[in-house]
Symmetry: C2
Subunit: 491 residues, 2 copies
């Protein structure tokens, strides 16, 4: 096992890697590297001996082969928008950062085949646009879609706001090109919708956060471009009514609901306060808001009618308190911008504990009630910024310190205090058989938690897979899995 704290032995290999990519493809400039060694949340600051930006899968293959020979660790990095420190290196400086940004070609679009073949460094937005140009639709949509790259999105099995109808990144993937930890290229880029010939190897790499290989390309599913959307914002007094409304709308529309996003009042308030350009969307203040959208073909008018009828009936029953339908694309865009800026709206608000959890959709109301109670038992002053994809049971349960404008909140600087709050959220999740990472992954942030929440059978099998594919442990070390005591590199 390589001693990762010393690089002296690798001068030759680093030079070889630089030759592989040519002078435009690498940097050791600390000013350049600094952007690649700290994560989006600024919680993980690492070091790296070399940033390398290959242009082709063959270059990636050659680089990995050199690293495999010499035991040099590799941290693959996409748009660096991850929220768990999965794409940045540790503090030893032993690892190279392998950025995929220069591999950003759209290789092919097939409108008839409903597929798009892309390189790992394409951003989600670029893929959405390329699909649109072919009159097709690529539904993977997250707040950071202008920066997040498809390689990273697949490596973290990204979710987002359209999972309800279109599925996670995994469900949108028909084929992958992966450079394995020994430098070999595994290619399954045929664009087939059905192929039951042996083990479906590509599945292993989705959600593996770059610890089993480097995704360099993918074939993705496309869908018919919707001819329009019907979008409503609903005000409610409780989450149970939101679940019930979603269930009714799915049935009534023939399952045309493509997004259904819950937001607590506090969540909306932070957007109104911290992001310019919004006004309160309803006259009255409501405890909960639901942003719901159907995608339509030539049946737009009837979908609007169905939506209006269901909402009117729900109002009459008292199940909901208010509802507005977007009258045009501008209003629709405003509602979505409101949803997509939740992420940034917390920045001026001080300490924010983010918990990306999932439970069975049936348990969402109960989870929110219980987790809120548990958190407030510890921190009655904590502000609950709750939002998420209720159709998937995926709740972003954020706990914020009291408003920093109203005085200091020293307790929140105490890591023991905030750890107790987070533990309350995760314990509630686990007591309901939920997931402590619904869509953000494990990265560095939850690598030790994973040990506690997975069964010994699961952990053993994960380690077996890791050791089978990457026996030297060079691929994104320290992410997802902690090495077994016997496997820890000897320092």
């Amino acid at each position: 096992m390589t001693d990762r704290s010393r690089l002296d032995g690798h001068t030759q290999e680093l030079a070889e890697i630089q030759r592989i990519v040519g002078e435009k493809g690498w940097s050791t400039d600390p000013g350049v590297l600094s952007a690649y060694t700290v994560d989006e949340t600024k919680s993980y600051r690492g070091r790296s001996c070399l940033l390398v930006m290959p242009k082709t899968a063959e270059e990636v293959s050659a680089i990995v082969a050199v690293c495999a020979r010499a035991g040099v660790p590799i941290v693959p990095q996409g748009g660096n928008t991850g929220l768990v420190g999965g794409g940045t290196p540790d503090g030893t400086g032993a690892a190279i950062v392998l950025g995929l940004s220069r591999m950003n070609a759209i290789r092919a679009v097939s409108a008839q085949g409903n597929t798009i073949t892309v390189e790992a460094g394409c951003t989600l937005l670029e893929i959405q646009k390329a699909a649109e140009e072919a009159d097709r639709y690529f539904p993977l949509s997250i707040g950071s879609e202008g920066t997040a790259q498809i390689g990273g999105a697949l490596s973290t099995n990204a979710g987002g706001v359209q999972v309800l109808r279109y599925g996670n990144a995994r469900d949108l993937m028909l084929g992958l090109e992966v450079v394995l930890p020994n430098g070999e290229i595994l290619s399954t880029l045929k664009g087939l919708r059905k192929d039951n010939t042996g083990y479906d190897l590509k599945q292993i790499f989705v959600g593996a956060e770059g610890t089993l290989g480097i995704i360099t390309g993918a074939v993705l599913k496309l869908f018919p471009q919707p001819r329009g959307f019907q979008t409503a914002l609903v005000g409610l007094s409780n989450v149970g009514e939101a679940m019930e409304l979603l269930s009714r709308l799915r049935t009534a529309t023939g399952d045309a609901v493509s997004a259904c996003e819950l937001m607590s009042r506090t969540t909306l308030q932070l957007v109104l306060r911290n992001v310019p350009g919004f006004s309160d969307p309803m006259e009255d203040v409501h405890e909960w808001y639901l942003l719901v959208e159907c995608s339509a073909g030539d049946n737009q008018d009837i979908l609007r009618e169905i939506l209006e009828t269901e909402l009117a009936e729900a109002l009459e029953r008292g199940a909901i308190l208010d509802a507005v339908l977007a009258e045009n694309e501008v209003q629709r865009a405003t509602l979505w911008r409101m949803r997509h800026t939740i992420g940034e709206s917390r920045k001026p608000e001080g300490v924010c504990l983010d918990h990306d959890i999932a439970v069975s959709p049936a348990d969402v109301p109960d989870f929110i009630a219980r987790a809120s109670r548990e958190v407030h038992a510890i921190a009655p002053e904590g502000r609950l910024c709750i939002y998420g994809h209720i159709g998937d049971g995926n709740i972003h349960f954020r706990v914020l310190q009291p408003d920093p404008r109203e005085g200091s909140a020293h307790a929140w600087d105490d890591p023991d205090y905030t750890a107790r709050i987070s533990a309350a959220v995760y314990d509630t999740t686990l007591s309901m058989d939920g997931s402590i990472s619904a869509e953000h992954g494990i990265g560095q942030a939850k690598v030790e938690k994973l040990e506690k929440v997975k069964s010994s059978v699961e952990l053993a099998l994960m380690r077996k897979i890791k050791n089978t594919l990457d026996p030297q442990g060079i691929m994104n070390p320290g992410k997802v899995l902690v090495p077994c005591p016997s496997e820890r590199p000897s320092d």
Copy 2:
């Protein structure tokens, strides 16, 4: 490695297995065993030393532990409806057959969570019915759904007629319970729609045909119960028009097309001739037929209008030649029974070479034209019974001998002749980057072909996974992967 041709050493283990399941759970009666040792196509006749029918995952676990200790091979078997000999033992008699039929409980249905938790031995039809009772919809539908079990369907990643909208078996799976080759139980039955905590281990077992472990239970996705269906049968002169019509209908209906099945005239003819109760559905004879269906909520009427409009326009353009819409559920059921009896309709027709292939949907017309030409160059007398799921690019390309009523066809008894015909179909498929097994799997039938069509990187990785999970090679030996020369059991 166990010598599989001798059983004498395993008397004690077989007795132990019998004790685990109790007297209702096993048989060595050759009359009973015979139904479990021959496959659906009657092409693979094997032997077995013991049929064991456990009732719980714990019993399966205990049985596998005994087998692992003694190196006894295990052949897991569901409804035994597979078409590639994947569920029946080889001729040595060394293996036990482990049937899942007694594990047929519906463990839970959650209408609010849109999930159903089932044991592996539930038939697809039982699951569909249990979902319906909860006002939910389970879309996995294949001709053999009354007999095929979900464990087998997941192990072969079954497809069927609704993949276009709802996906393959893999896409419908949210969690699995699997007994690993060492007897441990891996359980991921939480029913979460999103869970990015480490490697998604359950994916490995889907489509692995029981060679990596035994699926004993699953959590599956449910959908809103459609309030109705709009179903049409269309007559066309060529396949390109069928693809174009599908594309238009998907866009116009807001992607509500749930099934789109192509049938050649010969295919329909065999159903009309060999299955009682059908009459020719259209006045004129057409070369191709397309069965297309939309599933709807409260928008049924508008979907019917859209369908009518699109079909009328296509008729006017000359893109299609005729169309009938099902006026009621009886007519719809007749159309579907026509489709679902294609499988059995070939039985009195003599030699039938079945090829379950997939290409990119964009290549379907070209594939059909080229494969037909290649086959007829070898066997001008061959009847082409072509049908399949064109939205998925999955074509069942059957080549039948000349009508046996019109005299003998000796050439078709010559395996070299039929092999040349099949080679023409597969070579055409491979030349178009297609799959030689779209939905039936590899089993015994295509195990040697797999070696030829997969890259060395793919084969090596499959073998690594197999050896990691099942180092003794006891799980369904001889299926999917041929052991490497060095791994072959010494006889």
